[in-house]
């Protein structure tokens, strides 16, 4: 059988098909990201029984309910602490946190910062759609300056989080950013990240035409996709200023950090246990 058809058949096994069609709006990028993640996982030929998908609250949080592997839908912002607990109890498992920007960087911001600092062995897939989609399009910590949302009708005065730069500054060994337009690159990036160790962060710029796009002159899913298509530039050695997301500005994508050899927290902890037993 053709490898792509084989992959599609395997993908159906990893999905809870009885729950489809899913709750996400027409053209939502979370479906594309979940598709890329499942395909990357199938390509890696890892054991699905050793995969745990953890997600928080929000639109992206629903992803844990659609995968047919061990998954957990945690309370708001606590995806990373829960995943850290799984990794401590069962270091042989492959733990993936699949969550949104509001969950990981607003209420869960502190957990993200400290887990990255300690270099826990987790893969973080952060779907950034610039807004709080599920609650009606309020502005969040990743909304670009000047963007219009329900709570900032005259433009957002805040500066957004620069997620790749934040992760790099905390020493995360793998940091990448893609948009949902880059389906193949995103899949390859997740595939490579699955084989690495440490706190790996992949930010996926996703479209939310329902509550973000329609207030910012991108009413249809395709208009948002065209925006990503026209404005994304690949630059792996981008500076802080270039990595910042500007309203209607360029989106710099790429793999910004890819290093090996940093001991993970789990390894260092085992080392301490060994020394204490002597």
């Amino acid at each position: 059988m053709n490898p792509m058809e084989e992959m599609r058949r395997e993908e159906e096994k990893l999905l809870r098909t009885d729950r489809l069609p899913h709750v996400w709006c027409p053209g939502c990028g979370i479906g594309i990201t979940l598709n890329a993640f499942l395909r990357a996982f199938i390509r890696s030929k890892m054991d699905p029984n050793k995969l745990v998908v953890v997600s928080g609250i929000g639109c992206t949080g629903r992803a844990a309910g659609y995968v047919n592997v061990d998954s957990f839908h945690t309370t708001h912002g606590r995806g990373i602490p829960f995943a850290v607990g799984i990794k401590f109890a069962r270091p042989d498992l492959n733990v993936v946190v699949f969550s949104g920007d509001g969950d990981l960087f607003a209420i869960g911001g502190n957990h993200f910062v400290n887990a990255a600092r300690r270099n826990h062995d987790l893969l973080i897939i952060a779907v950034n759609n610039f807004t709080y989609g599920m609650t009606g399009g309020q502005h969040g910590p990743t909304t670009p300056t000047g963007a219009y949302t329900t709570t900032t009708p005259y433009g957002n005065p805040d500066r957004p989080f620069n997620i790749p730069h934040l992760a790099i500054s905390l020493g995360a060994p793998y940091v990448a950013r893609w948009t949902t337009y880059h389906v193949n690159q995103l899949q390859n990036s997740i595939y490579h990240a699955l084989h690495k160790k440490g706190f790996r962060v992949i930010e996926v710029i996703s479209q939310c035409p329902t509550v973000y796009g329609r207030r910012n002159d991108m009413k249809t899913p395709l208009e948002m996709m065209h925006y990503f298509q026209k404005n994304s530039v690949r630059k792996d050695d981008a500076s802080f200023e270039e990595l910042e997301l500007k309203y209607n500005g360029k989106i710099v994508v790429g793999v910004f950090r890819d290093i090996q050899g940093i001991p993970t927290y789990e390894e260092r902890y085992e080392d301490i246990i060994r020394r204490a037993r002597k």
């Binding site: 053709n2 792509m4 058809e5 069609p21 027409p26 594309i32 389906v183 899913p221 395709l222 996709m225």
Partner: protein, 83 residues
């Protein structure tokens, strides 16, 4: 054109659309390199217009690139390669 290119062009695919899962975002129609899909007139049970295949196949044929499958957010498209 090199030999490898002509070989890859000869690949043909069969697109199957699961209309129950489709939500009518039309990414598949936009990003199909040979434009074999178009918007259908009928509605599915959720009230969206799913894509359908273009009827005149001699010019527009599926080359089994699987891009529509990758872009579909609703897991609604399957492309099979025809030998």
């Amino acid at each position: 054109m090199s030999e490898q290119n002509t070989k890859s062009l000869k690949k043909r695919g069969k697109v199957t659309i699961d209309e129950k899962r489709c939500k009518g975002c039309w990414y598949c129609i936009e990003y199909c390199p040979t434009k074999v899909l178009q918007v259908s007139e009928h509605l599915n049970e959720k009230g969206y217009h799913p894509p359908k295949l273009v009827e005149e196949p001699p010019n527009k044929v599926c080359i089994a690139c699987h891009l529509c499958e990758l872009y579909c957010p609703d897991f609604a498209i399957v492309v099979e390669e025809i030998k």
